[in-house]
């Protein structure tokens, strides 16, 4: 039933709309021509105010960026680097008229490469330069921020660097007596306190603290107890309506060289689900044990006809004296090769994957949120890297592919395809594929969309 208020609102909106002056439409060819700047026509009385507003926006953005640059936190974003190599596009498959302005190129990159749909909004651009700019985008529902650096080359615009604000990062973790001192950085807002936990490798909590985020950082001291020398440090940050989690293995000071960061964070809290495997390399239904078989499930070729891929081979394997850390090389049957590094918190405990580096590229960071995975990749060779993810069966499904040159580093953001699942917990597979040689890393991790 229509109320009086609704009637008044409808009538008022119509009257207001009718009273508006609308400037003449610019000719369509002016609007769409890639050969010249878009002609924006506004009523004369508006133009000076908008110009003033734009100038203020630039100044405010500059102040904000300067403040960020002054920050002591290890922000993911770095200063503009106009001399950076082009990371996108390298081939000729992108229409040239997508590259005629920094705006159109940035738009094409954000929409066509990152595939995150309609929720990306352009926030500002800095500076208003002739040859290079940094465009700042915000994802409305995920509270993600994205900085895309673009450079003009021969009147076309190319992406030279892409960075996000990412999730929490444990910058320091060390054992001091029976305490673990933890420093955390988070380059985004989090009104709720960060939850910092000290865990054993079966997921049980040794100690926990809730600390506020101040100036992009937080500090906590947690009790590890007199009988332990190593543990898992887990940080949970509420970001919007999500929880982003980072983990670190803290090892005894005598053998640790700073925190050994686990690349593959799992979601909290651990409750009734099969707890232990969520923290290790091994799937609960997988009878294999030990690092070789566990690592095999991460380093594999693309499976066809559901046949298991040939196992990789391992070489140059070194385990430290205390048995808590191991490193070596792998070679997969598809020609891929690289190095791996594992750590554990007790000599007979399960292994955590610290790093897995392909000779062609290095997966620097993986951040899981309730809806996306953000992967930062650094390239060692000119190659095409694809990233996909989903529940149980991501390989072959809409991998986001990015061409890149050696030395380039960028972030690929992928939404989970089954983000609407109501499962209390689900296995998320994140796949990284070097498209050029077909080699594939297949990673498993756990994700719980519900905290019940």
């Amino acid at each position: 039933m229509t109320t009086d208020t609704e009637t008044r609102v409808r009538s008022g909106l119509e009257q207001h709309a009718r009273s508006m002056r609308v400037a003449d439409r610019p000719p369509l060819d002016h609007l769409l021509s890639p050969a010249r700047p878009r002609r924006v026509v506004r009523p004369p009385s508006v133009r000076p105010l908008v110009a003033l507003a734009a100038a203020v926006v630039v100044v405010v953005a500059a102040i904000a960026l300067l403040r960020l640059d002054d920050s002591t936190t290890p922000a993911v974003r770095t200063s503009l680097r106009p001399s950076s190599p082009v990371v996108w596009p390298l081939g000729d498959d992108v229409p040239r008229d997508d590259l005629w302005s920094a705006g159109s190129a940035g738009f094409a990159y954000v929409n066509d490469v990152l595939h995150l749909g309609r929720d990306w909004y352009f926030q500002d651009q800095e500076p208003d330069g002739d040859d290079w700019v940094q465009r700042h985008y915000i994802h409305d529902t995920l509270d993600l921020q994205l900085w895309v650096d673009l450079a003009r080359i021969d009147d076309l615009w190319f992406v030279t660097n892409v960075q996000t604000n990412g999730g929490p990062v444990v910058t320091e973790a060390q054992v001091v007596g029976d305490q673990v001192e933890v420093e955390v950085a988070l380059d985004r807002s989090s009104p709720a306190p960060l939850e910092i936990e000290l865990l054993s490798d079966d997921g049980s909590t040794l100690d926990t603290a809730q600390v506020p985020l101040e100036d992009g950082g937080a500090h906590a001291e947690l009790s590890i107890g007199p009988d332990r020398t190593a543990a898992v440090v887990q940080v949970s940050a509420e970001i919007g309506d999500e929880t982003a989690v980072a983990r670190t293995i803290v090892l005894p000071a005598s053998t640790a060289d700073g925190p050994a960061r686990d690349l593959f964070p799992a979601f909290t809290p651990v409750s009734s689900y099969e707890d232990a495997w969520r923290y290790t390399l091994t799937h609960p239904g997988d009878p294999r044990t030990g690092w070789r078989s566990a690592l095999t499930s991460y380093v594999s070729t693309v499976m066809t006809d559901r046949r298991a891929p040939p196992a990789p081979t391992f070489s140059d394997v070194v385990t430290r004296d205390d048995g808590l850390q191991m490193s070596g090389r792998f070679a997969s049957a598809d020609g891929g090769s690289g190095t791996f590094e594992l750590a554990r918190v007790r000599p007979d405990g399960p292994w955590f994957l610290l790093s897995l580096v392909d000779d062609a590229y290095d997966v620097r960071n993986v951040v899981l949120t309730a809806r996306t995975v953000e992967v930062t990749v650094a390239l060692r060779e000119d190659t095409t890297v694809a990233v996909g993810c989903g529940c149980y069966a991501p390989a072959g499904r809409t991998l986001a592919e990015v061409l890149g040159k050696a030395g380039g580093e960028f972030t690929i953001i992928r939404p989970f395809e089954s983000a609407g699942t109501n499962r209390p917990a689900a296995v998320i597979t994140v796949a990284f594929q070097s498209v050029d040689d077909g080699s594939l890393f297949r990673y498993f991790d756990a994700w719980s969309p519900s905290t019940d």
Binding site: V9, S19, M20, V22, A53, V57, D98, D124
Partner: protein
């Protein structure tokens, strides 16, 4: 001058031009109603058409796409305006000569959040059903229902005080 790719698209752009001519003015009005004062409505609408042009072959519902692009563009501008408001006086457009309900509604709308205002304008100016509003705002229809309910309560209070 259009490139080859653009020319190819332009050959089947009759529908695009008709949409441009037929919906431009209303979209500018939609942008202004949806937004706070000072929004560069023409610029946002022109950007929306450029976006649509680039995706013309893939977009099945061009009118809905434009509406979405305009609403999103205005929300993006709204963030800038909030930033400006924290730093000093936000830019203000001269109000057209309004009186009666138009003025009262305009002032009442200004008490709503950008999201609430967008929901109200899409419902009572564009006459969109809740499902369409949900698409435009990127939320569930149930959220639209509660958004509209809270917005109307707030509007009623503001209009009754007027």
């Amino acid at each position: 001058m259009l490139t080859d790719g653009a020319t190819e698209r332009a050959t089947r752009a009759g529908g695009f031009e008709a949409l441009y001519v037929g919906s431009y003015d209303r979209l500018v009005r939609l942008a202004r109603l949806t937004s706070a004062d000072g929004v560069p409505a023409e610029e946002i609408v022109q950007d929306a058409f450029v976006q649509l042009y680039r995706r013309w072959a893939d977009v099945r519902e061009p009118a809905a796409y434009l509406r979405l692009a305009v609403v999103n563009g205005c929300r993006s501008w709204g963030r800038r305006r909030l930033l400006l408001a924290r730093r000093g006086d936000p830019p203000r457009l001269p109000e057209p000569g309004l009186d009666g309900d138009a003025l009262a509604v305009r002032q009442a709308l200004a008490t709503l959040s950008p999201r609430q205002r967008a929901a109200v304008v899409l419902r009572y100016f564009e006459d969109l059903p809740e499902a369409e509003i949900a698409r435009a705002l990127g939320c569930r229809p149930g959220t639209v229902k509660s958004l509209l309910s809270r917005s109307l309560a707030k509007l009623k209070g503001a209009l009754d005080d007027d």
